[in-house]
Symmetry: D3
Subunit: 313 residues, 6 copies
């Protein structure tokens, strides 16, 4: 009858971590770094897991035969799209709400109807989806035309990390513009983690955009990219380098990333830095390091590439 007093194993010490002191030390560490103890319920952050599901839902709504469920037919596809949209938008509205709450200080939230604003942003986003699909279809065609290995549009949708990165970027950018930058950043990072391609949601990118291979591509927050631009792996469109000041901080603000005009191709490993302009129709060679503007139609190669500046021991 007293068998609930379960005897301990062995010497009574195994599994003893000294939890109490660790928990207390971690609490101290939290309080020190935050300067203040939490009061009441903590605000929930946007959830990465929820966003992954939302991104799957949005992709499926736009390209149901490629990212949706199997067994779709002509009579069922609109039911699928409509239902997927509803589920996904309800989920997105909750994440937008969290993103709004999170970005703002308690004072800013005063008197605002945050859930209503989250609903409105989500609704506005939803109505942009057909337009976004149009852009993505132009990207898809650009990939098909730009890669001699591509055998079909389906292969690009299903197998190309560049396509995934662009899809996520276009969702993230729309949300960024609608006023939920935190959420946009998180979506971009989900894309970065899956593809190795890092596009800041603040960047502006025109239609028919294609990134081949893609690992290591970085596109900065204030970059502006025209139509029909093609990038290869490890291209950086970054901010120019600043001399290190004493605190090690970079100056914040202002446009600091390149403007890439229409019809430009930038080959693998090229680094383009600062608020410079790459003129329409230019071609930037692999591994080129470029920090000044070039006029339309330029064909820039790294000096030692052309000279084959290599030596053989």
């Amino acid at each position: 009858m007293t068998d609930l007093a379960i005897p301990s194993v062995a010497n009574g010490k195994s599994g003893h971590w000294g939890l109490e002191s660790i928990v207390q030390a971690l609490r101290l560490s939290r309080e020190e770094s935050h300067k203040v103890r939490h009061l009441g319920r903590i605000r929930d952050l946007p959830s990465r897991t929820a966003l992954v599901k939302i991104l799957d839902g949005l992709s499926a709504a736009l390209f149901p035969t490629h990212y949706g469920q199997p067994s779709l037919s002509d009579e069922s596809i609109d039911y699928y799209v409509g239902n997927t949209l509803n589920t996904t938008l309800v989920g997105l509205a909750e994440q937008v709400r969290r993103g709004l709450l999170f970005a703002a200080s308690p004072e800013e939230l005063e008197g605002q109807d945050i859930p209503a604003r989250a609903q409105q942003i989500t609704r506005d986003f939803a109505h942009q989806l057909p337009h976004i699909r149009g852009l993505l279809f132009s990207d898809l065609q650009a990939a098909y035309q730009g890669d001699p290995s591509a055998t079909s549009l389906s292969e690009i949708l299903v197998c190309y990390p560049g396509m995934t990165a662009i899809i996520y970027y276009r969702f993230a950018h729309a949300l960024y513009v609608l006023g939920v930058p935190f959420l946009a950043r998180l979506i971009a990072e989900i894309g970065h983690s899956k593809t190795g391609i890092d596009i800041h949601p603040g960047a502006e990118i025109g239609g028919s955009f294609f990134i081949d291979h893609g690992t290591g591509v970085v596109i900065g927050q204030t970059a502006v990219i025209g139509s029909n631009v093609r990038l290869y792996q490890a291209v950086t469109l970054g901010a120019k380098r600043f001399p290190a000041d004493e605190s090690g901080a970079l100056v914040k603000g202002e446009p600091r990333h390149p403007i890439i005009e229409d019809d430009v191709v930038i080959y693998a490993g090229a680094t383009v830095l600062g608020r410079i302009t790459i003129g329409k129709g230019s071609s930037i060679g692999g591994n080129v390091w470029l920090t000044h503007s070039v006029p339309p139609g330029s064909n820039v190669l790294q000096a030692n590439n052309r000279q084959n500046g290599l030596q053989n021991d």
Copy 2:
């Protein structure tokens, strides 16, 4: 008794997305881009989720003590291998079938017994597995010999992304040769996403191949790599650059990636482009940009590396 008429919340507007107009606009967008409405059931694409499971199964069948389930013993290991193979091959045959259906046009499918062909391809693939295991074991030994940090073969199997990339490549290549390139591409991309290493399944790669670190490596479709070759991170074996034509498309077809002969080492960040040949036993330095063939035994360094062409402000 009428309580099933569940009253709406609040103002009857929350959660209203205007689904009908969005669904209709998306349908229009699909129809425009596809030029044609779907009729009847849509063909199922190969499933990425299914392939991930299949790749796990194949890896487990080849290296059961490292990628298989725990609790294997000498008396149970063959039961495990046999059962895993059966489950995995049944799954693979279905994906091969989808891949075949997908790659072909309706006319080509006319009169073909696609399921039977999928079975035969899968069976042929299955019988290559012991040979593939042999190649992979040579890769494993090459990694052990090529990396001073490696402490055991097990560490390489469990911790090295290069090993994962090669395993997936060898599966993908076998399927590519057997006539299911779409599936092969998808497998390669799964490997790319996990490791940052992008090997086209069309490439031909000999035994004892090792990629260290690996992020950013790109190996093109028509590359040919001999035995005992070692690559480091961010190495590109790519197609040479073509001047941009008016449509922005690259010319398709023909061998356009390098041939790397036996016993070559290519260091991090090197870019090797075009149908050139790197002679047996050569060593290509880090960051080198190489667009011409080099004879056996070459030791190529970037010019300014040797001159330490750096300046101090």
Copy 3:
């Protein structure tokens, strides 16, 4: 009553893979490569899946409001931290035990109480967690100060792959020092796979460390990094290149990666190789290839960057 004798479909051949011969060939392949048949139960390897869960648990215990469950409140947070720690440490102790068993030869294990040693290592690790949190908080502040795009500490914790990589590195390094290098390597590789950032757990890295973008960063086993260092994507802190010997193996042992002193910034794509020292406060430019030490306060740029050594066709 004999309906259990389920009739075969069709021609009795579909689904026949010839399993027996494949299973036998794979067994032969295993035995050849291992030179010896397994006897009895096979030792379980550390489990990647289990470690992923453990890393989530440790991250949640250190930053419960960012990586923990939702619905935490001031009264519940310590219960959550304590419970998460207990579950996670029990899981970690099992993986440490496997790691110890795995690393050692049967002779070395003779007479040792491996489970007790695993408990002790886990307990020691647990008591370092508050210290590790302190370091990570300094890293977090460094990221905020070092990136003009960062809008809050929360954004960095949730969205920055560099932060994830550093968190995993700090866990891995502590375990490396405590004597479970296999486990440490596996944790590092999980981080590499998620972020594209490859930090060997043997490296020593001071506080206030920040990696921006990060894809392609490689930090070698014997690298030593001071306080307040900032790296950008594709930076390599590697071993110097050795001439290929006949077996293709590199010489093992000895410190062979750079020492980076405090307050250094290294820009994207720079390659720093060998046991050289980058003096305090130095700045290394993008794409620089550096194989010799530089004194404190150096500002190193690649020659042709400064000269804008580019040509226009």
Copy 4:
């Protein structure tokens, strides 16, 4: 390099089950009982797991606000219903196909297009769903009127096992009539397992049917039940008892369960056996044992109930 030859633990005997002899003995046992070895691929049985999901889908399509997903709105509900129906019917068609294959002998299958027949049966079933919903709504109202504890229709849909049992019965019966009795039996048994109510899908049951509490109710294969009938727990509508013949088998075939006319109530524990008729409007008391027909309007009580045939020690 030989570390893949993982040493065994301890004495090389732990975990040794003697699998080979057990596997062989089980194979012998299978072959003996089946009289014949399997040839080729074995036909797949209908899957209980798949059917559970299908039942959830059908229930959700009929009562989306009670059994469907949350977050439905007036604009999204038809998308949800349509999409759920499509997914569910595709799944059902596959199970119907299996059921057809399973029920028939190989000879019967000769020359039949089983998949097409499965599609047709599923389509016919689908078009009966609105009618079935109408019946179920009458059952729901009967429950509300028949149970003084019921507070709303929603409570009955969500909390009453009798309702679940009737929903499953009505689906099963429709499939039984359409010619897939095996599937119908399996659905009925899923309902039995959830509710303790065992209704054979062959039984015919009119509208406005209600079972309260329900555990232990058994309704036989050839029972016929009119409209507006109410049963309580542990009521049996069974076949009459047959004297045991030498083989212990009961005679198969012919109607052998009761006919219950409209407006009958049968109280808990009553047993009604054989092809008898309970006349319209009758009431059968608790624990009554009844093996002969009774005219309309009968009120049957067990003798000793009325006499309070109880003794007090």
Copy 5:
């Protein structure tokens, strides 16, 4: 480039269900039965899945070593209990909120702060948990004393359906009294489905209560049961039978189930009906049908049991 226009399979008819007409007919069926179309978002019902998890959480919080996670130790158990309680109560509060919304009409909800009321009810419930645990421990001891087969308290907690049923009843009853009867009913039904024991949450049951075997037990809404009562399988404590009126409905309201005083035993299959009182210390025999009160100390047997009223053919 037009490969997104995926060709249909075969004859373009397979998989065609005629969804549109079914969806429309189901909508009509819903509108007819509900008399009204939904407007806006539909209120979410309490979720059975969520409640199952909540019941697991509550059980684990009360008996952590039997229903909680493994690997608890003396230093970790309170962290586990605290964290489990927090998670569970947050989940319960949401279900209580839904239950409150659901039970009330829109008019009743006007101006109420339902979330705050849900919080308060949940908090009140939480503070009753230690008291509930005390009652359950008395039930546990009663089971141990009342069943000669029971070998330990742990066996009863882990293996006895009667114990599960009582635990769920005690949770449900507390919520019933606190004003969320819908939730209470749903919890009771979850218990019923798992155990075959059907206890209405409105019933009042004293301590040291034990149900052996239990399948088929029914305890009605207004039953009152004293301390130290023991029931066996298939016992009914029901409402008395009413003659069928023309609508078939039973009269609602008023106490209509038995009062069972302390120390009563009721054997398998006994049926006790109506607002009668079974006096303290009485024993009711198996299969007895009892519709009148009996004084304390009664020992009631069915007449023909005592007389062995059986015949042999």
Copy 6:
């Protein structure tokens, strides 16, 4: 920089449960009831979840085409059986170990090699599986012969709860005899919960046993059942009723349930109590209450059944 100090929502009170006092009260309640505080790690109980998986595995190993995975073929079935057995037996050995630890007092465990004993018991159990399969096949044939509704052996295996109950009983009984009664009880209860059939694992039951419908059947610990016995729903083979003593406890020990000889049929609702013997070939009628032995060939009916002792109002 201080944004980690996440502001509280609203009034700082929501979500506050007063956890500390509840956790403390629950700890007190545990300590009071157990009389002793836990020391060190608590012993793990056998896991219901693990056992459910083990039962699935054992069922699949015995009837792979009915309970195993799909896609089995003649060449793969033994791999499947062998692998399933290995996985399942490893899992079972762990549960047996827990069961042994749990049943024994710390003193009894002193100096025992419990893991080795658990291995041995599991091995012995494994070698009984072919014999158990033989018994189950006889049960299957008995069901087919005993139920006029049964159309195939497969239908019985897949749809009959009686079959499930017997399979679980035969596993449980073997473990009971091998000395792990706690585990056996838990398995029996899993079967009870799924089927409503409650068979104590201590009962002894011969071959060709069949239970039809089954809900409410109870078979006690010391019951002995011969070959070729058939039971219907709600049959009780129980212990005789004892007058209530002052503590309410029943006398423990000694055989107290019936002996049922070969070829007996017992119809629905019959109650057979005490250590009596039902002679070979007897038939016991529905609802009969029997507390004395009957000779072979008896045909027992309830008195008022034969007399149709019913009255019509």
